[in-house]
């Protein structure tokens, strides 16, 4: 199984998914992210999926759950770089992804997390 690396920059965890991950790989990533949040006390987690040209319901659900679980650990998650064709497909598929923070690229995702860390006491409040 491939393991996707998690980097830490200041108090933000950075993940860039650059392979087409199998179900076990994406599940392992979810677990690794939560362990890293707990271990490092990171306040933000940025997952860049700009290299993913297919996101199916399993992957989308796992990423969404990852955001909810991160919030339970006191961290805010943001998904960055969703390709237009992936966005169209996810909506056609009927996935409800409300509740996921997204930005178009890593730069804006990083800014979002930094602003969020300053302004919000509760990372998951609307």
């Amino acid at each position: 199984m491939n393991r996707i690396p998690i980097l830490k920059l200041q108090n933000i965890l950075l993940v860039s998914i650059q392979i087409d991950p199998s179900d076990v790989t994406i599940q392992a990533l979810q677990e690794d992210i939560l362990k890293e949040i707990s271990r490092t006390g990171a306040k933000g987690i940025l997952i860049d999926i700009s290299a993913l040209d297919i996101v199916d319901s399993f992957m989308a659900r796992t990423l969404r759950d990852c955001g909810v679980m991160a919030a339970l650990l006191g961290a805010t998650a943001v998904i960055t770089g969703i390709q237009p064709s992936v966005a169209i497909t996810l909506v056609d598929l009927g996935l409800d992804l409300s509740g996921i923070n997204t930005t178009c690229d890593i730069d804006s995702g990083f800014e979002f997390l930094q602003a969020n860390g300053k302004d919000q006491l509760y990372p998951y409040s609307e």
């Binding site: 087409d20 199998s22 297919i54 199916d56 399993f58 390709q83 169209i88 497909t89 996935l95």
Partner: protein, 131 residues
């Protein structure tokens, strides 16, 4: 005309099947959005084979008149007891699943047919015509 058979035996074959369908649909002239939809529908149905039947095969064919792509998902698994119910959004026999596999795949293609017999197996056929 037969293009390719993809055996689904292990979990990683789900990834293999969606990659191959993406490549073939690109070769056939589908645009990037349709390639993504076909590959995603394949991923959903290949996962169903792996999850519920254990093994099976994905057969990708080029069609003519109308020109397009046909993808068959065949298994000799438990079969689907109640097809209308299985087609409902949110229905799943797997805990935690969104229940979007079958209905989601149908939304991504032009046609989907399900042929299933309990105890014998399931064949699902997807068709999408070239724009």
């Amino acid at each position: 005309m037969l293009i390719q058979n993809i055996e689904i035996k292990e979990e990683s074959d789900i990834v293999v099947s969606r990659r191959i369908v993406r490549e073939i649909s690109a070769e056939l002239g589908f645009g990037i959005v349709d390639q993504t939809k076909l590959a995603t529908a394949t991923s959903e149905l290949a996962r169903n084979i792996y999850r519920y039947a254990g093994t099976g095969v994905v057969i990708v064919e080029k069609t003519s008149g109308p020109d397009g792509i046909k993808i068959l998902f065949e298994d000799h698994g438990p079969g689907i007891e109640d097809i209308p119910r299985a087609m409902q959004e949110g229905f799943s026999t797997t805990p935690g699943s969104l229940g979007l596999g079958l209905i989601g795949a149908k939304r991504l293609v032009d046609e989907m047919n399900i042929d299933s017999e309990v105890g014998k197996g399931t064949t699902i056929t997807l068709f999408k015509k070239l724009p």
